[in-house]
């Protein structure tokens, strides 16, 4: 990264330090942000390759390119890599680190060294997970959920994999602590809570979920390891244990974790939509409040993963009710984004196209979520491809596309170079088309009864599976064009200067790329984050 010649003095070169150590031992939030970006995005690409292989295997009934054990290992590793190595640390680590301190007018986060330590823990955990693939009994084959009793009995290397996830959890907790402290203590003069950019609000809500929920995952995974290594029998009915307790513990973390994945994405969208509509955001307070409401209510709905597990009817009723409640703050956000667009002066540049796609795909994912949240309909489609389609609509169509939006919106700011617009739009069009062909088909397959995680299937599912696989190639083609165009632009493209998008948040008021200390003078905040008139932007 350091070989790139930047046009002016910036955090790339103004400390005079070069080489790999100026990155991996840097406490500058922007350098740590880029470290996180390249490591998490690298794992995303690994996950994409695994996903493509899974789709090729499912292209036709019977064996296509791999055996059943390899298939089981691949869907497990695809899930673990995408969730624990990409999307949970991705937003907070990369764009949270890059943008948040500048948006609140701070020079860095509260605990810069702890910030670096978080990245190191993340990398150590990642190495442990990768080691688990090639040692012991081979890659885990339990699915990313590590459900007992299978996970306590399988001969594959589950113990090492859960140790890796355990380690990464600490990275998540420390980032959460760092961000809560930073947002409380390091806001610039005039940066009141009512003037925080909505991306910062979403990071704040997410950080609390990270702090409060992650320890429960850690304990749960320790119990799985204890079950395997010591034979404690906590989850084994034969010794007085309860296998459902595992599912409760796992989802107490892993459902809120879904909100760790989606909340910062919603923050990105709330920042991008007003800029490209040339209008202040509609309902600032409600969007900020709904982030907190989603974080709080979303922590109480974990039981909706367990409707067919043998949980009590009372619990099904309660968790189903609570699940519908989470739909309210989510719908508030969608309503406010659409209202912001209303009569705005919309310019359809790449970040905006990805942001608008988020709204559509997230809404489809959210509505299919209501089918899964209602117990009566869930029992019909539980553990089918409908769930796979739903999850990818929310997390890939939602968080993933928001991540791409953030890449096109913010990365040029930090590189001082820009990508070409036309290939970016072509890439978006291909990805949008490929995405819907791949995952809408999965929802149809699920409705017809094709189970998830099955290696083989009945001949009547063959046509739709073939369509889905072809869709995944279109999606991958679009992704490839996006990557080539974006990174070619960032590394060698024409200069990106000033405030070309016309943003009113603080990151657009400082030089491009930002200097190490971000602000040349202490900023004094005199207007809100979407007050375009107050900044003098036409």
């Amino acid at each position: 990264m350091s070989h790139i010649q930047q046009p002016q003095t910036s955090f790339w070169n103004d400390t005079g330090k070069t080489g790999i150590t100026s990155w991996i031992f840097s406490t500058d939030h922007k350098r740590i942000g880029l470290l996180y970006f390249y490591s998490t995005f690298g794992f995303f690409l690994v996950g994409v390759l695994l996903g493509l292989l899974l789709r090729i295997e499912l292209m036709a009934p019977g064996r296509t390119i791999m055996g059943p054990q390899t298939y089981n290992a691949l869907f497990t590793v695809h899930g673990v890599v995408m969730i624990f190595l990409f999307i949970i640390p991705g937003f907070q680590g990369s764009f949270g680190n890059l943008v948040m301190p500048i948006q609140i007018g701070a020079r860095d986060v509260s605990f810069p060294r702890l910030n670096l330590f978080s990245w190191w823990i993340y990398m150590i955990g990642a190495v442990v997970i990768l080691t688990s693939l090639f040692t012991g009994g081979g890659p885990p084959d339990t699915g990313w959920t590590f459900y007992v009793p299978f996970s306590s009995r399988t001969g594959t290397n589950v113990s090492l994999a859960v140790l890796g996830v355990f380690i990464i959890g600490f990275s998540s907790i420390l980032t959460g602590l760092n961000f809560v402290t930073t947002i409380h203590r390091l806001r610039a003069e005039g940066m009141s809570w009512g003037r925080l950019p909505l991306f910062v609000w979403s990071l704040y809500a997410t950080a609390w979920v990270q702090i409060l929920a992650t320890p429960i995952l850690a304990i749960t995974l320790v119990l799985v390891a204890a079950e395997r290594l010591l034979g404690t029998g906590l989850f084994d009915p034969a010794t007085g244990g309860d296998p459902l307790m595992y599912q409760h513990l796992f989802w107490i973390y892993s459902h809120p974790a879904v909100y760790i994945m989606i909340l910062p994405a919603m923050g990105v969208i709330s920042d991008i939509i007003p800029v490209f509509s040339r209008k202040p955001i509609f309902g600032y307070k409600m969007i900020a409040f709904s982030s907190i409401a989603i974080a709080a209510a979303g922590s109480l709905v974990w039981g909706h993963h367990m409707y067919t597990s043998g949980m009590s009817d009372t619990a099904i009723l309660v968790f189903s009710f609570l699940t519908f409640i989470v739909a309210i703050p989510s719908a508030i956000k969608v309503f406010n984004w659409v209202s912001t667009l209303y009569r705005g002066s919309i310019s359809l540049e790449a970040p905006m196209l990805f942001a608008l796609t988020f709204i559509l795909l997230f809404s489809i994912g959210g509505l299919s979520g209501l089918i899964l949240g209602a117990a009566a309909t869930d029992i019909h489609v539980h553990d089918t491809h409908f769930v796979v389609g739903h999850f990818h609509y929310v997390i890939f169509g939602g968080s993933g596309f928001a991540f791409f939006a953030a890449m096109h919106y913010w990365l040029p700011k930090f590189y001082g170079r820009r990508y070409a617009e036309k290939p970016a739009i072509l890439a978006w069009a291909l990805m949008f088309t490929g995405f819907n062909i791949t995952y809408f088909t999965m929802q149809l397959l699920g409705m017809q009864g094709m189970p998830r995680r099955y290696y083989d299937y009945l001949p009547e599912f063959a046509t739709l599976n073939l369509v889905s696989t072809v869709g995944s190639w279109i999606l991958a083609g679009g992704l490839l064009i996006m990557l080539i165009n974006l990174f070619r632009g960032l590394w060698w493209g024409p200069p990106f200067e000033g405030n070309p998008w016309g943003g009113a948040t603080l990151e657009w008021s400082i030089p491009t790329p930002p200097p190490t200390e971000n602000f040349i003078e202490e900023p004094l905040v005199t207007h809100g984050p979407y007050d375009f008139k107050g900044t003098g932007i036409p």
Binding site: R185, L212, I216, L244, M245, H248, I252, S299, L300, G303, M306, G310, M311, S312, D313, T314, A315, V318, F319
Partner: protein, 108 residues
């Protein structure tokens, strides 16, 4: 017990409300005795024929003991309101997480 110097006050007033309390040996010993008594009580409760309430009794005494340890040994009763609130919210979250699983366990 060593007396700690007050940390330097920062412009942000970060440490303004922080005070350091020294707890006397008498109070520490008294707290210890309270904990021992409660332990004895836990043992005594197991001898009573309370049925399923036995677990609740043991849990209640254990929570009381944890509360005493947090308040005195961990100095929480001398801390500011913010820190006490944070602890309360954390414990409340944990209580809700555990409590909600009983929608399942109690009605299975």
């Amino acid at each position: 017990m060593k007396i700690q110097a007050d940390p330097p006050a920062t412009p942000e007033g970060m440490y303004m409300n922080e005070q350091h309390h020294i707890i006397s040996y008498g109070r520490l010993v008294a707290t210890w005795l309270v904990l021992l008594t409660l332990t004895a009580l836990t043992v005594a409760v197991t001898r009573l024929d309370l049925g399923s309430y036995k677990v609740w009794g043991a849990l209640a005494i254990a929570s009381l003991k944890a509360g005493v340890v947090i308040a005195v040994f961990m100095h929480m009763r001398y801390e500011g309101r913010l820190l006490r609130w944070l602890l309360f919210v954390t414990l409340l979250t944990l209580a809700i997480f555990i409590g909600f699983t009983f929608f399942d366990v109690l009605y299975r």
